[in-house]
Amino acid sequence: MTTETTREITYLEAVREALVQEMRRDKEVFLLGEDIGAYGGAFGVSKGMLEEFGPERIRETPISEAGIAGAATGAALMGMRPVMEIMFMDFLTISMNQLVNQAAKMRFMFGGKCSIPMVIRAPSGSGTGAAAQHSQSLEAWFVNVPGIKVVAPSTPYDAKGLLISAIRDNNPVLFMEHKLLYRMKGPVPEESYSISLQSAEVKRQGRDLTIVAYSIMVPRALEAAEKLAAEGIEVEVVDPRCLKPLDTETIIRSVSKTGRVLIAHEAPVTGGFGGELAAVIAGSEAFDYLDAPIRRLAGRDVPIPYNRNLERAAVPQVEDIVAAARALAQEGK
């Protein structure tokens, strides 16, 4: 969607714009997290928001990740729409009891008589030299918990529209913001808009093979697709955008068309979300159209290392996607 007000802003600015617009629209929406006030948040997402909304709604917390998650859960139970910022996704490990045992369970466990409309904003991923405890992609943990939704936008446009949907959703939504995407620019309309959570998007059309990628892997897959196009390999890139609930239809349609699929994500391969995607595809009508095995290209089964070269080698890079896609395009031919 492009409108008269569309201009180029960064992914980080798009996230902020969604927050600001939703806070202006609905007084029940508020932010809480560490250093989100004068400091503006560890990555600067909430910069300037304290001035507009004041300390009650830009609520700074002590370094208490379980407490932050609990405060968000309880406030949501009371009908507010808290957006909690966790400084690094890795720190969600400290919040897990509140998120997994409380927020995700309360609706079902209490007989459907309450809802927990909250957003958990989590900067994820590697590439910043922050090593093993500040670089993880933990989406698979959350996807496996009934009661939580998981969103992982890859563009500024998607970030704004999906965050607005996440805030208006009546359930706990994990919103993953990849740190390397924060500075990426893209066209974003100034006015408010929402993108349905369960809606994958074909980011590039192609006939030879499908790459299913989300978050940082989308721009990498698109760059790989450019390179492969020069070799005559036409890649289709499908971005699920939301891992749960998953728009399986768009993925299955694409794979049925191309007959080959490469699944790319940054999280470690074993037990990663790619396994779920592979199972969805293998169990669908797309199976009949497959001309080659479903391939996964994911993070290696190691903690993210500090050293620049090791860090790059731990997760799929553009050249890895090019190589894997090129091989897959030839497989079985």
Partner: protein, 340 residues
Amino acid sequence: MSLPIHEVTTVETSTSQRLLEELPLEKLAWMLQRMCEIRYFEEKAEDLYVRGLVHGTMHLSIGMEAGSVGSISTLRPDDLIIHHHRGHGHTIAKGADLTTMFAEFLGKEAGYCRGRGGSMHIADIPGGNLGATGVVGGGIPTAVGIALALQMHRSSQILLSYFGDGASNEGEFHESLNMASIWKLPVVFICDNNQYGMSMHVSRSMNVEHISTRAASYNIPGITVDGNDILAVYEAVLAAGEFARSGQGPSLIDCLTYRWRGHSKSDRNLYRTPQEIEEWKHKCPIKRFKKVLTDASVMTLDEVEALDQAAKMAVDHAAEEALTFPEPSPLNMEDEVYAP
């Protein structure tokens, strides 16, 4: 108004006589009847379990009735509670319907949680009971959020947050008391201190004599009360509730009591002596309250026993009715996980 940062009250300092004069007779009768209902409910729950009619486990609060009733009887009807796995007492004291409770306990569709929660997770959201948490201490951070919402909505309601002695060793307890303190939230933290975290006695699990001293770390009032003296509990929670309602913030009440039964149904009481259990049975909070009421001539023995029998009949009737209810259907369970 100010409350002491740390205080221990004993039976001797309890102002029961004054309260007996101040509280209306109907209130005192209500309190006794709720205590009896809790006792009979749990005895009946045990009976149903022994008869093989219950699928899951349960955590009985027999011997701890003064804490739940004494604290909740200080509340306005629109005030809120959030509590824990040993929560039948809080639920009944907050005004739950006994039949709907038994229905939940038996896993019936007509139960408070439509049979999805069971004994450990009874919630009555419209009734202000925001649910029981089965993970030790897990309700305390959630309580901070509930109280935060009350404050941000400029509500005059307050919240009572219950947990056990074991929970006060969880990190979540400390994070939550700190946050509630810095934000001056309208919540009273109540430790149902039955002295055992499953099998571990408080003297081995912590190096403080009174859990209320932990309030000092957060610069909030802390008080240890005789949790088997319903009027002592009432007085302490009333003061803490007024403190919270007037915007002065949270406090911590350590309600010292004892559970007569094991932790859950698998407990064989290998960590404590029969003598110890017998000693505490002599401190029965219900017998004690009955004696206080009759000694002070607030009620006659006959009146007290009439309330007791009314509670027993209500419980028996509720259980019989709940047993006839249909089971829930396993179809479409997925549709209930997410709110539309």
